[in-house]
Amino acid sequence: MHDIVASNFVDLNWMNMAYLFFVGFVGGLVSGFIGSGGAFVLTPGMMSMGVPGLVAVASNMCHKFPKALVGALKRAKYGQVDVKLGLIMGASAEAGVLFGAQIQQNIKNAFGDVGSNLYVSMAFVIVLGIVGTIVLRDALRTYRTGNTHDEEKVTKIARWVQSINIPGTMVYFKSLNARVSVLLTVPLGFATGMLAATIAVGGFIGVPSMIYVLGAPSLMASATELVIAFIMGLGGSFKYAMHGLVDIRLAMIILAGSLFGIQLGAIGTTYVKGYTIKLVMGLIMVIVLFSRALMVPVYSSQLGIISPIGDTTIKILKNASFAIMILALLVGAIVVLSSLFKGIREERKTTACEPATERIKV
């Protein structure tokens, strides 16, 4: 088995390496900012280079946990990480990953690769359709009311969750500035893990759930997600490495780009309010939703659920889907970079206008 796996490690050329480095950089930039992202482009990207599916998933995961670690440490310096919440949600997310992977396996056994692909695409469309719309609507409402520089308000549901008292399970979380029952964080972590096992980006549930259900500020939720991603990524990588599926060259080349990106993304968060985090996350989720929605008819026709689609149409839909996914990541990266450079420019301007003596006091 080992020889078969080893032969699945493809030859790398400079073009492939440059591509992985660049996508890694953009993915890292977005992850550093919103706590996740990038993986949904990297796995199909690697597969298009001839990397077998499982090796692509495994190698992607093996770049994810060190990236998340570096990002979490960086954002912890800015006081944005709630380690306790991250560890507790991370543990339940790990269980969700195992459960989600088992469901995937069962679907694959019953309906083959096409059935599994259809399941993944449907998960993308349903989850991103619901959660992405909520996040983007919230960001747009904030924009319309002109409160983009204000602190975020805790939602009604989060106030209710924080009011529930289950003796013996209450834990104080600094990101919430409240005591919340661990039992209520478990389903959120579990769902995060399940989504990670299905679409490779658990943060699309993890971050919004910490914001809207638990009441964490967006900046802290996105930073804490990096702790969850680290735990899930480490566990997942170990599992895949036990079967010899990690192509360390692919993982480290992606890591090379993503560590440049994650540092920038993390720095960017110090110049923005929660509104921008929600905007980037909502935009990416809704754009990716369209990308995956294009693939639903392809897999449905291959399974015989709808009438067959011609090969040319399938090819066009596949390419369009991948292009929209890259667009999602690029749109996110542009908002992150423009927020960062705008923030730096404004700070330099303010600092230059201020007398040196006043700055010493600060």
Binding site: M1, H2, V5, A6, F9, L12, C62, H63, F65, P66, K67, L69, V70, L73, K74, K77, Y78, E151, L234, S237, F238, A241, M242, H243, G244, L245, V246, D247, I248, R249, A251, M252, L255, A256, L259, F260, I262, Q263, L264, A266, I267, T270, Y271, L340, G343, I344, E347, T350, T351, A356, R359, I360, V362
Partner: protein, 83 residues
């Protein structure tokens, strides 16, 4: 011109050191990829190899990228806003 007293020293030596280590690690990885693939693809107890490698690379490369942006003047916001 008087020097700005609050200006931090740029971490050039740290960037150079971690940069050299990072380049050496990547060079080794690419030059010895056949041997590395052979051992890392064995699975079982050899699973520790890719995990340890990821930690090692992230330590040096993470430190390098941090100081790289710092040397370029891209740093986190320093001024706290009055709430």
């Amino acid at each position: 011109m008087a020097k700005d007293p609050v200006k931090k020293k740029k971490p050039i030596s740290k960037m150079v050191f971690t940069g050299v280590v990072t380049v050496s690690l990547y060079t080794t990885l690419l030059l010895k990829q056949d041997v590395i693939n052979d051992y890392f693809g064995r699975g079982g107890v050899y699973a520790i190899l890719p995990i340890a490698t990821a930690f090692l690379f992230s330590f040096f490369h993470g430190s390098f990228t941090g100081s790289f942006w710092s040397v370029l003047g891209i740093e986190a916001k320093k001024r706290k806003e009055v709430k």
